[in-house]
């Protein structure tokens, strides 16, 4: 399947096409207002070959929508790049990853004021996380191999960068308590997790078993939860104890749920998606029902469920549309009632709560 992406790279004459979305879940939840863009969420619109279509939309808790926040606040700053891939946060800053421009743009997470552009030591950057005063960003480098995949490590004091080879497909990334967790799955290739001890710089690999290619990774209460896809067998949710790195539990998804993605944990409940449907299961259950919680209506030929998240009793879905025009975000209640439809930018791929 990587080959389709190579074809795209060729036809679009661009290095990249971005899919999937991030579940960067770092809500401050405070009631104080720390800036114009506190108390709401950002939608990352990856855009298309025209960099002007890459943008960030803000949706306030009060329902007010602000388009293209970055250019609104920073009309003369360096551009944020195109094919926007991820936003991740530390306490005060937001980091916007552009896959094609090989850069990360740093802004104030509450005012969105431009701080810096970091553009050294990247090669097709994917997702990022912050741990211990440093940011860690996965890089795909050459698409057709995992052996050159690496981390860019950004010193958040001076934005200097260094790299560390992971050597296996490196996509989603999360972190907690001095450890960084990387899912080594890329469209069906790769079947492991890599754990980085940020104190010793030591890498450890956990094998998920042949064919189990991870697409989501979440750290919750000192356990890791990983959703995998397997084209010859059932999808699975793995529970891994971070103290022992042992797989503690494995839940098989029903065989009818093929190509499950977007695992989110909210209030002791698993949420994930298959095509245009959302499924949920209690974290304590041992089986998963194949009855959908909701199915949304999409006319998109190839951007169905381009972005997904669950936060504060709401389910958020973004539709990729045709990637050639503005598209929509849908907010649902936890029981599947459509609450709001919001027009955002081109190719909305993820939600980031502030």
């Amino acid at each position: 399947m990587k080959k389709q992406f190579k074809f795209l790279a060729f036809t679009l004459l661009m290095g990249l096409l971005i899919t999937s979305c991030s579940n960067d879940d770092d809500s401050s939840g405070g009631s104080t207002n720390l800036g114009e863009y506190d108390n709401g969420y950002f939608v990352l619109n990856e855009g298309n070959a025209n960099p002007a279509t890459a943008s960030v939309t803000f949706v306030g808790d009060d329902g007010i929508v602000v388009e293209d926040v970055f250019r609104l606040v920073n009309p003369t700053a360096e551009e944020i790049g195109s094919y926007l891939q991820d936003i991740f946060f530390d306490d005060t800053r937001a980091f916007i990853v552009s896959g094609s421009a090989n850069q990360v743009t740093v802004v104030n997470r509450y005012s969105f004021e431009y701080i810096a552009t970091i553009n050294t030591n990247f090669s097709a950057p994917r997702y990022g996380t912050v741990e211990n005063g440093k940011a860690y960003v996965t890089n795909s480098a050459e698409w057709n191999t995992g052996t050159d995949d690496f981390l860019t490590i950004i010193d958040l004091n001076d934005y200097s960068t260094s790299t560390m080879i992971v050597g296996d497909y490196s996509e989603k990334i999360t972190s907690d308590d001095d450890y960084v967790y990387i899912s080594n799955g890329y469209y069906g290739s790769g079947n492991a997790l890599t754990i980085l001890n940020t104190n010793t710089q030591e890498l450890t690999s956990i094998d998920l078993g042949a064919g189990n290619s991870p697409n989501s990774i979440i750290e919750e209460d000192d356990d890791l939860y990983v959703l995998s896809y397997n084209n010859a067998s059932n999808g699975k949710i793995f529970k891994i104890n971070t103290a022992t790195n042992a797989i503690e539990n494995t839940i098989d998804l029903p065989a009818s749920l093929v190509d499950a993605k977007n695992l989110v944990i909210e209030d002791d409940t698993f949420y994930f998606t298959v095509d245009a449907s959302v499924y949920s299961a209690s974290m304590s259950s041992t089986t998963i029902s194949d009855t959908a919680l909701l199915t949304y209506n999409s006319t998109s030929t190839y951007g169905v469920m381009w972005g997904f998240n669950v936060e504060d009793d709401k389910i958020f879905i973004s539709d990729g549309g045709d990637f050639d025009s503005n598209s929509n975000v849908y907010e649902y209640s936890l029981n599947g009632t459509l609450l709001n439809t919001i027009t955002v930018g081109v190719g909305p791929n993820s939600f980031h709560f502030n």
Partner: protein, 611 residues
């Protein structure tokens, strides 16, 4: 394939035997210059054809993009100067414009299109633009129109040599050397050209520079003709192109990429003139190879390579004066492979029947073509044209045709994605042209309507991308040209202009397609006094939408670019020409593709020496 070619040979031999008895001296053999692409003359009466040659070629930059952008109604979408360039002819896609080399369709087997920045015009004697459908004559892709790169084979001209050298801003070099000899029976010419540029121009009104945009290309062509006797001529055409381009950045920290092309084209042609019969046998062998380097710093690349063997036989018969019947058979065998394409073979044979008749001021031409292949269902293609001349000054043409574009190698065979159930894209079109010719003025205007179905697009189906027949597009509009000539003693004035109005809509949404301007206009004003020429050239391209919902926020502005040039002829027979050009004299800040900025004011100087 082999059987087919043998079959063709069989037919031609039997024909040449039975027609030997007729000894009419056919005028065509006495012609001093032989054209390779005869359809442009014989079966294109009811459609508009513009031919660019001589000074127009020598004043143009070497890329086919620049030549046509400033001298035709065709719109170009160029990813920065010299980068990937896709035409939109009458509002169609790049794959719906054919480029024909000496009559042979040379669009890529992989993506079905020609990148107009990979053709160097210095190797050709003439470049012709044929508007509208032409699949009956030129095969897959001739929906918007076709571009014809032709070499003439001349006899009785003795030695003819020329050297062309041009140097300009951004270390841009353009060289062409041509050497030819012809006697009464024999003709040979060889041309070598090279074009290169650092292409590191500064963006207008910005502190940024075009990074990673350098390119070079070199071509060699050789053409031979031999008149065996009064009835038979053998011709050989050869062409080799080798080019490398970096792909320029939008952001300075992008991963550098580059692209290499290596294409060769060879064709052997045998013309036989046997009284009322004219027979032409062509055997052509084409190769194309590309390499794409996703990271220039590494050696990794992806590639595609295709070899095409074409056998084509056509026989025309002059039934009586002013009526001609022609039959064409061809077999094309292509073998291609690439990083993501397993070795795949396809063979397509086709049969065409063409008829033309002139009755006083009235002319009509009709043609049918049917392909036979097991790769896809091929529709019956046709073309019907009518012409009426109202006296000497006014001509009306009406033409209707059905045309197609077949699925490419990428569409059919891409590993894991290729869709062998694809249908060809088909187009039904009609046009009406008006032509006015007077001593000092000629004017033409053509209105057209084109309905294109089953357009092939790559869409993900589940987690996999696949090409599918989906969009339905209609295009309509107006194409016009104006030429004025006037001279007073040693003062000569000429003005040439084109204007196109194009609507190209997706039928499902009724919205204009992205990157199709409603308006495009060009003009060239030339003033010559004695040995000196001064010319002024303009290009206007209207605004284009870059998003499918025609969102006004993402419109790319219209632009107006002007060039000025001066040349002077030296020597007894004006065999030296010295020239200089200032391009984009008003330093217009423009982009043909969003964020792909084009150069501001820039300069070049050239020398042309014929001996």
């Amino acid at each position: 394939m082999k059987k087919g070619i043998l079959f063709l040979f069989g037919i031609i031999f039997s024909l040449s035997c039975f027609s030997q008895t007729r000894l009419d001296s056919v005028q065509q053999l006495d012609e001093v210059v032989l054209k390779s692409d005869k359809f442009l003359k014989t079966f294109s009466n009811t459609q508009s054809i513009t031919t660019l040659k001589d000074t127009l070629l020598s004043r143009s930059a070497p890329s086919l993009t620049q030549l046509l952008n400033y001298n035709s109604n065709i719109y170009f979408k160029e990813n920065g100067l010299g980068m990937v360039s896709s035409p939109s002819f009458r509002g169609t896609t790049a794959q719906q414009t054919v480029v024909a080399w000496n009559g042979i369709n040379i669009n890529s087997q992989f993506n079905g299109q020609t990148d107009f920045n990979t053709i160097n015009i210095r190797n050709f004697d003439a470049v012709s633009i044929r508007s509208g459908g032409g699949s009956v004559l030129y095969g897959s892709g001739a929906i918007g129109g076709s571009i014809h790169l032709n070499n003439d084979i001349a006899f009785n001209q003795g030695f003819e040599n020329s050297i062309y050298a041009n140097y300009g801003s951004f270390n841009t070099l353009d060289l062409g050397v041509k050497s030819g000899f012809s006697s009464k029976k024999f003709s040979a010419d060889v041309a070598i050209s090279r074009s290169s540029s650092d292409n590191d121009y500064d963006y207008v009104d910005s502190d940024k520079t075009n990074l990673n945009g350098a390119f070079y290309n070199q071509s060699v062509s050789a053409n031979f003709g031999y008149k065996v006797n009064a009835k038979n001529v053998i011709k050989l055409y050869s062409y080799l192109y080798d080019g490398e381009r970096e792909f320029s950045f939008i952001f300075p920290s992008e991963t550098p990429t580059k692209y290499q092309d290596l294409n060769s084209r060879n064709m052997l042609e045998w013309n036989g003139l046997y009284g009322k019969f004219i027979s032409t046998l062509k055997l052509a062998y084409l190769t194309e190879k590309y390499k794409y380097f996703p990271n220039t710093n590494l050696d990794n690349y992806s590639y595609g390579e295709a070899k095409t063997l074409i056998g084509k036989y056509d026989l025309s018969y002059t039934i009586f004066k002013d009526a001609m019947l022609q039959g064409v058979m061809d077999i094309t065998n292509t073998s291609g492979e690439g990083s993501s394409i397993g070795k795949s073979d396809r063979t397509i044979s086709s049969f065409s029947l063409l008829y033309k008749q002139e009755i006083k001021s009235f002319l009509y031409e009709a043609a049918l073509r049917k392909e036979i292949t097991n790769n896809y269902d091929s529709p019956l293609l046709y073309s019907l044209g009518l012409q009426y001349k109202f006296g000497n000054h006014y001509t009306v043409n009406v033409n209707g045709s059905k045309n197609f574009r077949i699925p490419t190698y990428n569409d059919l065979y891409w590993a894991g994605s290729g869709n062998t159930n694809l249908k060809p894209e088909t187009s039904n079109q009609v046009e009406m042209g008006h032509q006015l010719d007077f001593k000092h003025v000629s004017f033409s205007a053509t209105v057209f309507y084109n309905d294109i179905k089953d357009m092939i697009r790559w869409l993900p189906t589940g987690s996999n991308w696949q090409p599918v027949n989906t969009d339905h597009v209609k295009t309509y509009g107006l194409e016009s040209t104006l030429d004025l000539k006037y001279h007073l003693k040693k003062h000569q004035f000429t003005l040439g202009g084109t204007y196109a109005y194009t609507v190209s809509k997706n039928k499902a949404t009724d919205l204009q397609l992205i990157y199709v301007p409603k308006h495009k206009a060009t003009s060239t004003l030339n003033y010559q006094y004695n040995r000196a020429s001064l010319y002024y050239q303009t290009l206007y391209v209207g605004e284009v939408f870059t998003l499918s919902d025609n969102n006004p926020k993402y419109i790319l502005d219209a632009y107006f670019v002007s060039n000025i040039g001066l040349s002077y002829a030296l020597g007894k027979e004006k065999q030296f020409t010295l020239g200089g050009q200032i391009k984009n004299i008003y330093n217009e800040n423009y982009q043909s593709v969003a964020n792909r900025f084009m150069p501001g004011i820039n300069y070049n100087f050239y020398l042309n020496f014929n001996f």
